[in-house]
Symmetry: none
Subunit: 188 residues, 4 copies
């Protein structure tokens, strides 16, 4: 039951956004009563938190295995990572909603989660870049962590553009060009 509600909430939030989605909308989508939403989640904010939390769990679970492929060329791994990331987030649209600064003000919980994930990503990318440097596949003057942060930021930044309704397929091909530029930009 909880799952059914969570799914309906995820779908509806991603379709209309946090503010334009009413508890009524979600209850209707789930074919359940508004009351049950409150029974299971307590409030609209907590329901949204649960939705986002679920999506982020999927994100990290999907990305973890990629960084274990230490045998591949680091540029290759980076490419795989970028593609996988886009793919997973395509199915985690509510995470997007939290990107807005003003949203944070009242949602420190989400802020914390997001910071954690970002740090984890930066760390993984840093490791990858270091390996690439050691294997002399890459050329990165200066602080590696900064490059890692730039890359993560860049990927995070692309997200909104990618999830505009129906734009994903059209933009996917552009993504190849972007990967190409970056790969070349960091190569030795």
């Amino acid at each position: 039951m909880r799952d059914k509600l969570l799914e309906a909430a995820g779908f509806t939030f991603s379709k209309f956004g946090y503010y334009k989605t009413s508890m009524e909308d979600i209850a209707e989508k789930a074919q359940k009563s508004k009351g049950s939403l409150y029974y299971h989640f307590g409030s609209k904010e907590l329901l949204f938190e649960a939705v986002v939390f679920e999506e982020l769990k999927r994100l990290t679970n999907a990305l973890k295995p990629i960084f274990d492929k230490t045998d591949l060329d680091s540029r290759q791994v980076l490419k795989l990572y970028m593609l996988k990331r886009m793919e997973v987030l395509r199915n985690a649209p509510n995470y997007q909603e939290t990107l807005r600064p003003s949203f944070y003000e009242h949602y420190t919980f989400l802020d914390q989660i997001k910071t954690q994930i970002t740090e984890w990503e930066v760390m993984q990318i840093s490791k990858l870049l270091k390996q690439g440097l050691m294997k002399e596949e890459l050329e990165l003057p200066g602080d590696i962590t900064v490059y890692a942060q730039v890359l993560v930021m860049l990927l995070q930044g692309l997200e909104p553009n990618f999830y505009l309704k129906g734009e994903y397929d059209r933009l996917e091909s552009y993504f190849d060009n972007l990967i190409q530029i970056i790969t070349k930009g960091i190569s030795k």
Copy 2:
């Protein structure tokens, strides 16, 4: 008077976001009546549209002169463009909100404006890249317009990250690294 209202609206929208800002809030900030907002702008949507339109006018006004510097290295111009763009949009926080998927879904009234500006940017960048190719400063296999679109998308995508309250200064230095990667990524 209209300007005073517009300014108050811009400030308040950017602080709380479109949904969390009430006409009441704006009227209070402007020290004017709610009625005058409706007299001048007709509705909340149209007021927001006016705010965003104002911000984007500033963007194009600031960027135009840069593309006229045809004597510089194309990579140099691109760099100037990217820096100026970030700087201007730093003060165009409401434009940001319109990029969010959930906003996009429900408020199509800004589509025209946004599409126009994006197209203008892509065209300018395309020209620039073409010049760079002719001067043999750049190397870009495939369709140039796609590269231009990728670059604009990338810059648009970075915006949310850059305008997190108070984060601009910290991220500014990262931007240099990004520019460096890209510049190298498209160089011959």
Copy 3:
């Protein structure tokens, strides 16, 4: 100028009704400013009063001559009167608006005018019926004034039905049947 405003007001009130018509609507229709409406008429209520007053003036002016045709058969005069009345009121649509009980509560001025006109009509019809009785054209057991009042009330009652947009032409033919029934109903 006053006349131009009055005409625009009459048109707009009759189209949307008193409450659904805003001063804005009227000003727009007249291509004048709202301010001028207040300059000339003082308030929405007073403007409406002026409109109705104008219409009623036309009504009585148009009906007066009919009652002077003492040479005709009284049933013939009644028929002429009924037809003329419908025709004139077709062009006095705002008078309709005042028919509603709740409308009166705050508009005693209109109440008075209407009562006066009704009394005048009843008196005219009474005279006519009396003549008809004397000429032995009619048969009316009981108080003649009551018959006159019934006839006026009946005609007043038909008004709303007749002024439904576009219904006038369709209903006009029915009116003939009604006149026939009544004429026969009061004939000797």
Copy 4:
């Protein structure tokens, strides 16, 4: 609860009219919250529609039995019908408002209901007149349906006059005279 709201709405609408009645007024009368009005009826328009619908249901329920009295003289039945109709509608003041031209113009949501009832009435009267013709009680040259329509229109038209606050009792006696005229007017 719904019924309590409906009753309060009916009372208040009939007292002040549709426009002068606010949802606040109704909620106060019912000693309930505005929210509950919207929970049960969705909007002011739909609430009003429900009120009128209720009134018209009473009308048809009261009139049905009368048309079954086929043993009586058709003029007698017509008389009963007219009297009953007036009596019932005396307590259906909100239906009245919907007959005003200006109301009609903007609120088409009641069209269906009204048209249905009117058609039902015309049909019943038509049948009655036909029976009267066959029994040679009546004399009606031309299309019978038109006579039926005229009669219904006439009765509908009288309604506003009859329901002027407190005027019913005075006018009731006039109604007898009207019935007499009509009865004679259609008799053989």
